[in-house]
Structures are given as C-alpha cells and as structure tokens.
C-alpha cells in the first residue's frame, strides 16, 4: 500500500511490516498502527510513522547503541500481550525527543517500545526499573564512550 508520511513523502509499504499497537501508546491511544522508515544516510536513527495520521511521526533508535549495559526484563503482562514465545523474537527500540543537536536530545529508556518480530505486535512498556529515565540525555553516554 502507499502511505503518505510526515517527512518522507509518499512511500510504498508492505502491510506485513505494519506494527500493531493494540492500545496505541500513552498520549496517542487511538494510534494503533505504525511503520518504521529509514532516514537517508543515517543508520542509527529511524522514523516511527503513524499509518493513520500522516503528520504523526517519532524518531526511534536502538537503546543498546546509546547506552552501555541496558538491561530490561519483560514482565508477564508484556509477554502475554505480545504473545512472545522466545527471546529471539523480541526487538527493542526507544523514542528520541529531538532537540537542537543529537547530543542535547533525550531518549526514553524508561518506556521502550517492545516488538514481537514474529507477529509485529508492539507495545510501549513502562519499566519498573528506577535506573532508567524517561528523558535520558544522549550526550551523557557519548562522553563516556
């Protein structure tokens, strides 16, 4: 199908690639379908584009590339909701809140998006882990590395 996107014009997407968020995400509960689109000349960040709302898109990235020792434990509610059977089915990405520069931007480590790659069911999971912040400064990591 063809999809009108916020920043990539009209693109053709395979409906099999659509991520299904049964309850949307907090703040956007009616947005049940998103697709992941590449950003030209950028490997690290991708766009999470709403299927329903052309203007709605987020930047997402792999949190394991941003922060060392990122460990999450999926609770039974998530495993159940996404029908996860094996760990290798699971993909994790985090929403980035862009500022003037990437270094000043923040990444939501507290509420990652969990995807079951076998059925493309996805959910933004709010972790109980106190170590992770909703607005984790990206530069706080790059200085370490």
């Amino acid at each position: 199908m063809n999809l009108k996107t916020a920043y990539s014009g009209e693109v053709e997407i395979d409906t099999a690639e659509i991520l299904k968020f049964e309850h949307g995400i907090p703040g956007f509960e009616s947005e049940k379908e998103f697709v992941i689109l590449p950003i030209e000349d950028n490997e690290e960040f991708t766009v999470l584009q709403s299927v329903q709302t052309e203007a709605l898109a987020f930047i997402v990235t792999n949190p394991y590339n941003i922060t060392v020792n990122y460990n999450i434990e999926l609770d039974e509610a998530t495993v159940h909701a996404l029908q996860i059977k094996e760990q290798k089915e699971v993909a994790v990405f985090s929403i980035v809140s862009l500022k003037e520069t990437i270094a000043e931007s923040t990444i939501n480590l507290k509420a990652p998006i969990i995807q079951n790659t076998s059925n493309n069911k996805a959910k933004q999971v709010i972790l109980n882990n106190e170590d992770y912040s909703i607005r984790h400064l990206i530069s706080s990591e790059s200085q370490k590395g």
Binding site: A6, Y7, I25, P26, G27, F28, I39, E40, D41, N42, F45, V47, L56, A57, F58, I59, D75, E76, A77, H80, A81, I95, V96, S97, L98, E100, T101, I102, N108, K110, A111, Q124, I126, I134, R135
Partner: protein
C-alpha cells in the same frame, strides 16, 4: 465513573480476578493493595502521565538535524 466509599480493610473486586484492598488510610495517604493476574499492567498514574507527556514532546517536527549532518 463509578465512585465507591470504602473503609480500611474493605475490598473491591473488578471482574473475577482483580481484587483491590484499602489497606491503610492515614491522613492524606491511602495504601492500596492490588491482587491481579500478572498479565495485567498496574502503573502509577503520574508515571503513565509522564510517559504520555514525553511522547507528546517527542513528536517529530522536522528532520533538518539529520539533513545538516551531510
């Protein structure tokens, strides 16, 4: 919204498998016990609200930042 008055020690059942118990009432604070199947998310309201606010802030406004890196 259904609003019920309860005293400490009293309970409320939601469906067949969720039990809420008012465990303690002390001044402005109420301690609530929740017994629910592990397949049900139980999240503090302000935390969910904070994630919701953060998502709203993160809505992409432009992708110039990636273009200027070229």
């Amino acid at each position: 919204m259904l609003v019920l008055s309860r005293k400490a020690g009293e309970t409320i059942w939601i469906g067949e498998d969720i039990e809420i118990i008012i465990s303690e009432v002390k001044g402005e604070q109420v301690k609530i016990g929740i017994s629910a199947p592990r397949s049900i998310d139980v999240i503090r309201g302000e935390l969910r609200q904070d994630v919701s606010t953060s998502n709203t802030e993160a809505v992409l406004k432009n992708i110039d930042i990636f273009k200027s890196k070229k």
